[in-house]
């Protein structure tokens, strides 16, 4: 070891020693800076400075104190940048939208392939940042325009992109442009959805049949359900531990989707019933997890088709009345009224009032 190496080692040791001694003081300065960056009100800046300094003080080790303070600073910078980026994204988005609108809608013509690709590439740039920020801040940030254009560029064939773009334009207050877009979408396989949107915007709801209206409402719900099923299948193919972790993380979303599932199935039942397919309607009803609501709907279907045996009506009535009284769901109330009337009619009381009803033992 020569003299230079010895000197270097000594100096380096001194620097490391000094740095570790100084780092607690630096940590306090860093959290002060972090509070200044993260908050705008002076009171909150002072409060958080002292509070975070206490947290840093409690951390063991000198370097760990500094690392903790740097963590606060990173969070503060990201918090500030999130606000800034949202503004930038918004401005860029308007530029993109104007560009798309100028190229297509204003001239009243369809997009060409290269235009779609360009719009898609621009939109793709937003998605990673959006996902990253959403994970970081647990926000439901949706740069709606970017998503819309992304769909616009990738889902042209089924018309979903047109619909998304129409929604976006509608939100931006450009109703005439939105109507133009929806009209273009009537040439796609999702024409019924486009017609529904058109009818809504132009107050022509009467032109739609009831079935089209139901389909328009139902399709997004069914899309959600299919996404849930796909995700369930994906999760089932993973190792058990990973599955549990993922399930925990996605608890909120899954719960939301599960909440929509039974509703989707009941809508399915309604649609099957409109199609005259009673068997599938009943199957859709009874496949839900919402036992009471689904069974009411199933009984209502059976009753409408006069398929409930007379001897079962009193039993149904006695079984369902307490539920209806505790949860007055409209079709439950309707069903009870119908059952009472038909039971009274069967009992030879055409006034429709049945005071006392025989209770049959449940049939196994």
């Amino acid at each position: 070891m020569n003299l230079v190496e010895i000197a270097f080692t000594v100096v380096l040791g001194l620097i490391v020693n000094e740095a570790s001694d100084v780092s607690p003081r630096m940590a306090v300065l860093v959290v002060r800076l972090a509070a200044r960056v993260a908050y705008t009100t002076p009171e909150l800046k002072d409060t958080r400075t002292e509070e975070w300094a206490a947290i840093v003080h409690d951390r063991p080790g000198k370097l760990l104190k500094l690392a903790t303070s740097l963590g606060f600073l990173a969070g503060a910078l990201l918090r500030r940048s999130r606000l800034g980026m949202a503004g930038i994204a918004s401005r860029r988005l308007h530029v993109v939208l104007e560009w798309v609108a100028r190229l297509t809608i204003a001239r009243g013509r369809r997009l060409r392939l290269y235009e779609l690709l360009l719009a898609g590439l621009v939109a793709l740039g937003y998605r990673p940042a959006e996902n990253w920020l959403a994970r970081l801040y647990e926000l439901q940030q949706r740069f709606l325009g970017a998503v819309a254009i992304y769909w616009y560029s990738t889902s042209r064939h089924n018309g979903v992109g047109w619909l998304r773009l129409g929604t976006l334009l509608e939100m931006l207050g450009r109703i005439d442009d939105a109507i133009l877009v929806y009209r273009q979408a009537t040439a796609t396989p999702n024409a019924h959805l486009a017609r529904a949107e058109l009818a809504r915007l132009t107050n022509e709801r009467a032109v739609l049949s009831q079935r089209d209206q139901y389909r328009a409402i139902l399709t997004p719900v069914l899309d959600t359900e299919q996404a849930l099923l796909a995700r369930s299948a994906e999760m089932l193919s993973e190792p058990a531990v990973a599955r549990i972790i993922r399930a925990q993380r996605r608890e909120g979303v899954t719960r939301l989707l599960l909440g929509e599932e039974w509703d989707a199935r009941l809508h399915c039942a309604l649609l099957h019933d409109l199609d005259g397919d009673l068997d599938r309607a009943l199957a859709a009803c009874l496949s839900t997890r919402q036992d009471v609501a689904a069974r009411w709907r199933a009984y209502e279907l059976l009753e409408r088709h006069d398929l409930i045996p007379p001897e079962d009506r009193p039993l149904l009535q006695v079984t369902l009345v307490p539920h209806v009284e505790s949860q007055p769901i409209p079709y439950g109330v309707r069903l009870i009224h119908t059952l009472r009337r038909t039971t009274a009619r069967d009992a030879g009381n055409p006034s429709g009032v049945a005071e006392t009803l025989p209770i049959h033992a449940p049939r196994r």
């Binding site: 409060t47 975070w52 206490a54 947290i55 647990e138």
Partner: protein
């Protein structure tokens, strides 16, 4: 009082932690919440900002004796309205997760909580 606008998983985690602390008559500081909720500082303080502005949480400085030379901690506690609203919210959003199943009931974390200052006494741990 206004409700916190965004209901997120970190918010529910922090509320669980605060309810547990209130049940034990303990005021908790930010670091304890971060540890128990397994959330980062910016996330937890973002939630605390929202809860404070909504009136669900009240904060106070701990009492540090004059001879102790260190920064004061800031202690958080659910208000009465915050407690009822948070309980209702958790019952709606996490009905399947009983308090006993909560990760906050892990012995280490609970032990940490129990070592924290009691409300109204301003401890100097």
């Amino acid at each position: 009082m206004t409700d916190p606008i965004r209901i997120t998983q970190p918010l529910l985690d922090v509320l669980e932690m605060l309810i547990l602390a209130l049940r034990d008559d303990v005021d908790v500081h930010g670091w304890a919440i971060m540890k128990a909720a397994h959330r980062s500082g910016p996330t937890v303080y973002g939630v605390l900002d929202r809860l404070e502005s909504a009136g669900w949480v009240t904060a106070r400085w701990e009492d540090v004796p004059a001879n102790v030379n260190r920064p004061r901690r800031r202690l958080y506690r659910l208000t009465a309205t915050g407690n009822s609203a948070a309980s209702k919210l958790l019952a709606e959003r996490r009905p399947s997760r009983s308090t006993v199943d909560s990760p906050l009931f892990r012995p280490g974390l609970l032990g940490r909580l129990r070592g924290m200052p009691r409300g109204g006494r301003g401890a100097t741990t």
